[in-house]
Amino acid sequence: MARASSSMQSMALPLVKSLERREMSSINKPRVRLLRRGSSLVALAALGALAMTASAQPSVRHSTGEKAGVSLALILDDLTNPVELPLRKGAEAAAKKYGFSLKIVGPSPNTAQAQIALVQDEVAAKVNGIVMLPVDSSALVPAINAAVDGGVPVATTELDAPTSKRSFFYFGGTPPLQQGMMQADRVAAYEKAHGATGTVNVVVTSCLPTVTGQQDRRKGFEQEIAKLNKTMSFKLKEVAFANTTTDPAKNLSNIQNLYTANGSKMQVAYAMCGPDTQNWGTVLKRANNHNILVAGYDWLPQTLNLIGQGWVAWSLGSSLYDEGFHTFGVMYQHFANGKPLPTGFAHGTSTWATKANLAQVRQSPDVKYAG
C-alpha cells in the first residue's frame, strides 16, 4: 500500500506541472466525453427512475370494486410478512364479493411511527372505515382514537390495541395466549405417550420476540408448563430462548447454532414463528435427527412438506384468510346496511396441521393463497 501511494505521487508530481499549463482543456475533455455519454447514462437513470416509480408505493394496492360508494382501508403491520398474504387475499375476496373499494397499505419500515402516519393519511383520504394490524398495541392507541373521534371506525385483526377505541378485534384462530397453552398440552401429551422420564428440555425460538402475539404464545406455553409440571411424572424445562430474526438465511444460521449448542440435550423445539418452524425441520432433516420434536406455527409450503416427511410433528395455523374476509364483511355490512358494528373480541379456532390431515390442510385458502 505504501508502495502504491508513493508510486502514484511520484507519477503525479511531474504530470501536475505539465498539466497545469493545459489544465482547463485537459480537465474539460473528460467532462465533454461524459456529456457525450450522458445521453446513455440519462437513459439508464431514467429506466432506474421508472423502476423506482413503479415501486415507489409498494405499500399501496387497490382493488377494483364495482361500487365505489364504500371505501375501506387495510393497514398491515408488515408488508413483507409471508404469513399475512392470505389475509390480504381474504380482504380482496370480500371487496370483490360485496363491491367496495379496498386500499391495502403497510409501513416500511414496520415501525409504529410509520404506521401512525398511514392511519393519519387514510383518515385524511376520507376512507369510510379502517381495518388494521397494529404494530404496537400501545403506540397506535392515540392514532386509532383520533381516527374514531374523527368519524372513521377502526377494527383490528390478527393483532390488537385493546385499550384503544377500536370497534372490535377479530382473530381468525385461537388467541395467542391460548395457542401457547394448547402447544404445551400437546407437547406434554406427546412426551407422556412416548414414555418420557426425568427432564424434557425445550428450546424456544421466535423471529419477532418483541411482538405482543409472540410474547403471548410464549407466556401461555410457560404458564401451562408450570401447571403441568405439578402433576406429570416428568418435567418440561425451557433451557434456551432465542431471537432468530426474520431474514431467512440468518434465521437458518441462528437455528443451526442453537442446534449445535443444545442438540445433544434438547428433546423439544418450540418454534413460535413460521420461518422458525420451517428451519428447525430443515436443520433436523440435514442432521438426520428424529429425536427432537418440532412444535410449530403457520403453514408455509416448506413447513407442510416437512410435516409430510416427518421432520416437523405439527404446526398450529390460524385462518388469516378468514380474518381478512370476515372483518371486511362486517365493516361493509355496517356501511351498506346500517348494521351496528360489534364490540369487543371475537375469534375463530386454530387448526393443527399434521401428517394425518395434510391433504385437507393443503386445500384451505390459507395454503392455496400462500403460494
Binding site: 423502476a51 423506482m52 409498494p58 413483507t80 416500511s108 434456551a240 430474526t245 449445535t260 403460494g371
Partner: protein, 344 residues
C-alpha cells in the same frame, strides 16, 4: 514490504532458542498486516472453546464457514468500494432483488444456468445504477445508496408481492452448494467464497485495476490529474458490488432454499463493519480483501460463540458489540506497533 525484509535480517541475526523462536514468531505475526485480526480470532476461539467445547467441534466450525459466505462475498466487493472512499448502503436490498429475480426465473421454468446469469446481471445493473446516479448527479454514493436502499427493497417486495417465491424444485447441483460438503467437511459455498476472495484479492493487489482503486482512494485529485478516470472507477466498483450482492443472494437462497424478499435485511451493517474491523479507513485508500473476510469471520464467530455459550438474547447484542470493540482494539494495538517499528 521493504521494512519487513529489513527486520527479518535483524530477527534472523538473533541467537536461536525456544524463547527467542516464540518471540521471533510473535514479531513476524506483528508485521503480517492481518496479524492482529488473526490473534483476535484465535483468542475468541480459545475463550469460546473453554466456555463450551462444542464450539471447536468440526461440525460447528463447518457451520461458521458456511454462515459467512453470503455476506463474505459482499464484504470482498465492499472492500473495493470503501478503498475508493465510497460507501454502498444498498447491498442488502440488492440481495433481496436478486433473490426474487432468481426465484421468478426458476418458477417460470428458465434453466438454472440462465437463471443464475440473469440474476448476476441484474445485480450488476443495480450497482451500475448506483454508480451512474452518483456520477451524473455529483452526489456522494452514500447519499444515493441511502435512497436506493429503500427503492430496491420496495422493488423486491413489488416483484414478489411481499411473499417468498415458491413453485420450483430444490433438487440439483445448485442447491447442493448450500447444503453439501466437499470431502464431507468443507461446505461448497465456503469454497465459492474462497475462490472469489482469492481472485478479487489478486486483482486488488497485483493488477493495474487494483492500483487505480487504491490511487483513487488515497488522493482523488492526484489520481484525476494523473489521468485516471475516477468516475469510471467509481461506477466500476459499484457495479462489482452489485455483482457480489447478487452472488451473495444466490448463496443465501441455496442455503435457505427460499427466494424471499426479506433476504438481505441488515447485511449492509455486517458487511461495512467487517471491512472497517479489517482495517480499511472510511476515508479510503487502505484495506485488503483478506482483512475484510477475517473481520466478517470474527463477527460471525463471536455471534456463534455467544449462542453456544448460552448468553441471554437480551445481553447477546450488548456483549457482541463489546467483544467486537475489544477485537478491534487488539488489531489496532498490533497495527500501531507495526507502524511504529516500520517508521522508526
Amino acid at each position: 514490504m521493504d521494512a519487513d525484509l529489513a527486520n527479518r535480517a535483524v530477527i534472523d541475526g538473533e541467537p536461536a532458542g525456544r524463547a527467542h523462536r516464540l518471540s521471533s514468531a510473535y514479531r513476524r505475526l506483528q508485521y503480517f498486516r492481518e496479524g492482529g485480526l488473526v490473534i483476535a480470532l484465535l483468542m475468541a476461539a480459545l475463550i469460546f472453546t473453554l466456555i463450551n467445547s462444542v464450539f471447536a467441534k468440526p461440525q460447528n466450525l463447518e457451520n461458521i464457514g458456511s454462515q459467512i459466505t453470503y455476506e463474505g462475498v459482499i464484504a470482498v466487493a465492499m472492500t473495493f468500494v470503501i478503498i475508493t472512499g465510497e460507501i454502498d448502503l444498498s447491498v442488502g436490498s440488492m440481495v433481496a432483488v436478486a433473490a426474487v429475480v432468481f426465484g421468478m426465473m426458476l418458477r417460470d421454468g428458465l434453466p438454472m444456468s440462465a437463471a443464475i446469469l440473469v440474476t448476476l446481471l441484474s445485480g450488476c445493473g443495480l450497482g451500475a445504477v448506483n454508480g451512474a446516479l452518483s456520477v451524473l448527479l455529483r452526489v456522494p454514493t452514500i447519499i444515493i445508496t441511502l435512497g436506493t436502499l429503500s427503492a430496491y427493497r420496495g422493488l423486491a417486495d413489488q416483484l414478489a408481492n411481499g411473499y417468498p417465491i415458491s413453485g420450483f424444485s430444490v433438487e440439483g447441483w445448485f442447491w447442493d452448494i448450500g447444503q453439501k460438503r466437499l470431502f464431507g467437511h468443507v461446505p461448497y459455498d465456503t469454497v465459492v467464497l474462497i475462490v472469489f476472495a482469492v481472485i478479487a484479492g489478486f486483482v486488488l493487489r497485483r493488477t493495474a485495476v487494483g492500483l487505480h482503486v487504491y490511487a483513487m482512494g488515497s488522493n482523488r485529485r492526484a489520481a484525476e490529474l494523473a489521468g485516471l478516470r475516477v468516475n469510471r472507477i467509481r461506477i466500476g466498483v459499484l457495479t462489482f458490488n452489485g455483482f457480489a450482492s447478487a452472488l451473495g443472494a444466490l448463496l443465501a437462497v441455496s442455503q435457505a432454499q427460499t427466494a424471499d424478499p426479506n433476504l438481505g435485511t441488515g447485511y449492509e451493517l455486517d458487511v461495512i463493519a467487517a471491512v472497517i474491523i479489517g482495517g480499511a479507513k472510511l476515508t479510503g485508500g487502505s484495506g485488503t480483501v483478506l482483512a475484510s473476510v477475517l473481520g466478517l469471520l470474527l463477527i460471525k464467530m463471536i455471534q456463534n460463540g455467544l449462542v453456544i455459550a448460552g448468553v441471554s438474547i437480551y445481553l447477546l447484542v450488548v456483549v457482541s458489540g463489546l467483544v467486537v470493540i475489544a477485537a478491534v482494539a487488539i488489531d489496532r494495538f498490533f497495527t500501531r506497533r507495526r507502524e511504529a517499528t516500520v517508521h522508526g
